[in-house]
Amino acid sequence: MSMNFLRLLSRRPGSAPVARERLQILLAHERGLRGQPNLLGILREEILAVVSRHVMLDPEKVIVRMDRGESVSTLEVDIELPNDFDKRIAAAG
């Protein structure tokens, strides 16, 4: 009772409801990511396979990144090619 009275005086509501709401939003998001096991890994493998058919590249230099926004999410694919990639293809062909 006395604590409630003090709280009225200080006009500072507890921060627990904020904690609870932040956690619920965050975990809904993180559980969603877990549900699709390694989507990025699969995308990376398949992109690497397709590009490798035409261009010699270093598998380490293929970066696939996903950014989830509130309304739009983006998939970023960053593939670094060696400077002489076209010559190597010509030599191989």
Binding site: G14, A16, E30
Partner: protein, 271 residues
């Protein structure tokens, strides 16, 4: 039939080792034959909390690698004759643990004990995944605080996917243990409430351990809190939790500190 239980959390410092020691001792006090196993290779502490740090000769890694026999590495508690400790190595790192080695040691321990309590390291790396790998049950330790609840959720996801049971299509039986709970602060809306945490984690509650000076006092002297001061609020909460693990139905409540007049007058610092 032996039960293998992992005490885990994801986040560090929430009370895994304290809880392993307290639950292990409480189960042993009820007559069960118990071994507590330290999986925190390289940062062992269960030996210290159990007060056996000067008696460690061989450790889990030695047994995993066949350097020592299990019977050589097990340390019997000086207070309870049916409580044992299998310490971790302090000099090796977690890569020294192998999946096959852990499987073999756990299988061996199953034949010798009623309860095998595995104290997991923090994190979600090899040490933590191996600690939970062969568990039948899991105690997920969390504080009423956002980062610890988030990590608990992550660990629950791993228990449901990365354990031997999960791979066989079975389920590790999960329990949430809330530690460092301050009912006053929760009532004032300053701390996540029990209901908040359970609703978020959707996992049954094993117990609520109140924030208490007795926990630190017990660790100072190297004794599980359930042995050091059995009448204290955290000890009673751990004892109830251990009885629930054993299948008893006990009303859930938050044990409160019994404070004397002077203590109340002088506040927490008096303790």
């Amino acid at each position: 039939m032996a039960k293998v239980l992992v005490v885990t959390s994801g986040k560090g410092g929430v009370g895994k080792t304290t809880s392993t020691a307290a639950l292990g001792a409480a189960l042993a006090q009820s007559g069960e034959k118990v071994v507590v196993v330290d999986f925190d290779v390289g940062l062992r502490n269960l030996d210290l909390i159990m007060g056996a740090e000067r008696r460690v000769v061989f450790d889990l890694i030695n047994v995993v690698h066949g350097v020592a026999k299990l019977s050589q590495a097990l340390i019997r508690d000086k207070r309870l004759e049916n409580l044992w400790l299998l310490p971790a190595s302090q000099t090796r790192d977690k890569d020294a643990l192998t999946d096959e080695g852990v499987e073999r040691v756990i299988a061996d321990l199953r034949t010798k004990f009623d309860w095998v309590l595995c104290d997991s390291p923090a994190g979600i790396e090899r040490g933590a995944t191996l600690a939970m790998r062969y568990a039948d049950e899991a105690v997920i330790v969390t504080n009423p605080e956002v980062s610890s609840v988030r990590d608990a959720d992550r660990i629950i996801g791993m228990l449901d996917s990365k354990t031997a049971k999960a791979e066989k299509g079975e389920q590790v039986k999960k329990h949430v243990l809330i530690t460092r709970y301050d009912s006053g602060r929760a009532a004032r809306g300053e701390m996540l409430s029990i209901d908040d945490i359970l609703e978020i984690l959707t996992t049954p509650l094993l117990g609520i351990i109140p924030e208490s000076q007795d926990v630190l006092r017990a660790s100072n002297v190297g004794s599980p809190v359930t042995l050091n001061n059995a009448a204290s609020a955290p000890a009673r909460a751990y004892t109830d939790a251990a009885r629930r693990l054993n299948g008893e139905t006990i009303t859930m409540m938050v044990p409160v500190e019994r404070k004397g007049f002077m203590e109340r007058l002088l506040g927490r610092r008096a303790a």
